[in-house]
Amino acid sequence: MSAIAAADPGATRLDAAAAALAEALARVTVEVRSAGARGRDRPGAAGGSLGAGVVWHPDGLILTNAHVARGDVSVVLSDGLARPARLIARDRERDLAALLVDADGLPAALIGDSSGLRVGELVLAVGNPFGLARALSAGLVHAVDRRGIQADLRLAPGNSGGPLADARGRVVGLNTMIAGGLAIAVPSEVARAFVREQLRARERRGG
């Protein structure tokens, strides 16, 4: 009997669950390319920055980090096609930006409640670290405080703007930076509030 066959069937169920979740998360993650970016997000020869974003709404609303979306922005959806995106809101304070692509029926993320996060629970991140499309990292909630969600999870610059999801696959944050080896994410509650404010402002403008 092989070692694998002898292993606890629970472990293979765990693998299958993790793989299914990774796939679901990759579908709602986009690559964000931005011509105006500077610094560490610039991938060099390719030109422009490479970050990630989350499909927030099926009709083309995408959330990412403000530091990822600068200047002319395009996104690559999970179908592999690049589309121009309109930067409709940007908040440097919260490091959030809202993009709109001309599409509908997109696979949108399930948004979780970041206020219910427990220290020690599993979290998964998907992004484009080192330009690697939709790579997965797994870790757990390290702490939740005024800086946002801190996760014991390995990120790289191309993860910026991508989803941090719980074990149910619900997006609980947007990965924003790496500090002291920890992943720092903007909580989904903050992102939700940002989206609400922007929609209200657009309504007032009649947009």
């Binding site: 169920r13 669950a17 220290v119 020690g120 629970e121 909630v141 702490a143 014991d152 074990a167 149910r168």
Partner: protein, 299 residues
Amino acid sequence: MDALLSLSNDLAAAVEHAAPSILAVHARHRLPSTGIHWRPGIVVTAEHTVRTEDTITVTAADGRTLPATLAGRDRGTDLAVLRVPELTAVAATLGDDSSLRIGHMVLALGHGPRASWGVISALGPRWRTWRGGDVDRLVRLDLVMYPGFSGGPLVDVSGRVIGLNTSGLARESRLALPVGTVSRVTDELLRQGHVSRGYLGLGMQPVTLPEPLRARLGLPRELGLIVVTVQAGGPAERAGILLGDVLVALDGAPVSGLDDVQARLGGDRIGTTVTALVIRAGSRVEAPIAVGEQPRRRA
């Protein structure tokens, strides 16, 4: 996705189970370290994080800051024991060293609580730290030790404490002291405030032995330890050891480094006799030394 969710819930529950016994220890400038409520009123932490002995406080999981007194410290195993009489929460649930397995999923926890996730990457036999402490078992971890995590618990997926994490015993790898070692050292520190170690009263440093001398005297190792100081009135001086003697064996076991000497001078050797083989003027000389107790150094 239920398997993943149940693992996630188990990990979060493990943190919640252990959290009431985790404290912040304020015994150095700025960055507090972590302590474990090991027994009622007794907190253990990493010795290297205790820089002051006068005004130590701990912050319990309930947020109360309480006065603590240092019961004892052992540089060898990097353990310090504090008495915190006002501590009311339950002490940690301690696991069993014999249940540790390579690959077990573990959490390192810091005060807050804060969590770090990883696995037991290697287990080894009894070992001696570079500071001369005896550790029952080598427990090496693959996880990130964040600032302030030293002194905190290593817990299993059910939240039982299976070790004390410290970055003070190895620069590169992450190590935990197993529960048995922490309890043993804690007992000794509570009883007498320090851990007893055998003592010869010698200062030595390694020297290369010339090949012809090794061949003539039948010495297996290239290195010996040359005596550079002899404590006046100490065990070695009473046994007639002289400056310039080169120690090559203790009780027949070759020694070529200070670790080898420390390894033969555990607390249980105090009062017994160890036979030192030294090279003096090109000849072998055997000297029985009555092992003393290491004098306590004040920090």
